[in-house]
Symmetry: C2
């Protein structure tokens, strides 16, 4: 019943580390959605919800939802559904949202400024502990965060703040060519979790987790499907010259 889940001797690099249970990575990525929808439902005064209703609200199938929730435990009631507030709390606990995590942001430009003004930052278990930049015009300036305001500090003081205030998550919003250096500073400072908005692949130790947010990638994936909509044949070259298509395309490159 408690689902022993005998995949302990997992080979390559699964998500969990320790002893007993592990939760699939795909499930972990959906838990924040469930949590958000449950929170909204609780605010509306909804007491209980079935897997079918909750799944629809989250844009997933009910089977997937139930399987996801089953990794956390048996928190539903057969014949009834899930208690909204209680399930929301269980997910929050599983995600580690019951006490806030400290966040530092490096690169206080257009995007960095927009991010720190983001209300969902503080409202979901995260707390900004410091803003950092390297540009003399930016360092020392004051930035208004939702509840209070911050003075931007030089990036050299990053390690100090992480150590003293106990930050756990770093956000990189510097230009691309500075991102690797910042990532290394964050790792040296003791951070193991990084969100990277710069369009570069970061090289970090295996015990550091990087999640990248990349608008250009999203747009290009959409562009791919848009093109497929127009031209269902896909990449099959239109075969206009009898030569090898490879050399033929090489000319079109400079069009």
């Amino acid at each position: 019943m408690p689902l022993p889940d005998f995949r302990e001797s997992a080979g390559p690099l699964p998500c969990a580390g320790g002893k007993g249970n592990s939760i699939p990575e795909a499930t972990v990525a959906r838990l924040p959605i469930y949590h958000r929808v449950l929170t909204a439902m609780a605010e509306q005064g909804i007491i209980t919800v079935s897997s079918e209703e909750l799944a629809t609200a989250c844009g997933v199938t009910s089977a997937k939802l139930r399987k996801d929730l089953s990794y956390l435990g048996s928190y539903g009631t057969r014949g009834v559904g899930y208690e909204v507030e209680f399930l929301g709390y269980q997910i929050a606990r599983e995600l580690g949202l019951t006490s806030p995590w400290g966040v530092v942001v490096v690169g206080v430009g257009n995007l960095g400024r927009a991010l720190v003004s983001y209300r969902g930052f503080a409202s979901r278990g995260f707390r900004i502990l410091g803003l950092f930049d390297s540009h003399p015009d930016v360092v020392g300036s004051t930035v208004a965060v939702v509840d209070r305001s911050f003075t931007v500090r030089p990036v050299e003081e990053l390690a100090e703040v992480v150590a003293d205030q106990g930050a756990h998550i770093g956000v990189i919003t510097t230009p691309a060519d500075a991102a690797q250096d910042i990532a290394e500073r964050m790792v040296k400072a003791g951070l193991h979790s990084i969100v990277n908005f710069a369009p570069v692949v970061l090289n970090v130790p295996t015990d550091v987790e990087v999640r990248k947010v990349d608008l250009a990638v999203e747009l290009q994936v959409l562009a791919f499907h848009e093109q497929r909509r127009k031209n269902p044949a896909g990449s099959v070259v239109t075969e206009l010259d009898p030569q090898r298509s490879v050399s033929g395309d090489r000319k079109a490159m400079n069009a």
Copy 2:
């Protein structure tokens, strides 16, 4: 040799639509990375690259890279590697980046303003065609985009601009409670591709593709792993009361 790839009768909902070849969704999501790294290499004057080198630069394994590229065709040379500029062009063509796609942005607040100033927008095959908002103070104001500047238009004119200028992609940066309405307007206007920054699940027809960018989700996934790092036992309740753990936790909820 041209890789017929007989998985035409694909069942549920694969990525490709039409006739012959299809490319796995996981591969499509990596192609933009390959393209970016190849572009950077080309600017550095690198002529050829092996799958091992390129894979390292992209943060993937060489086997995965080669398999991904094999879906596009045989563009490598055995014993040598890939010609940087040529492979980059082939990926660009596959992604549909050879001619720019029109983009409209709805919600010109902190985040929207930051996005339109993003240089990588125009530099990779995308072109902003219009900015929209509903707030009287914002409509009519001028926003500087990288190459030129735009006057923010009322959201009622969205359909008109999409039709006249031929936009294909919509970006939503409105508050969460307005996002569903904006999405429906975009669909009505004829868009099939949406990037959603608002923290809500959008309900759209099946022939519309939504990609969501959600900072809160990224942070919460990182929080999950941070917590696991501290407490490897995971969600296994510490079992302090002999009662059912469910009722026991229900009290702790309001702590």
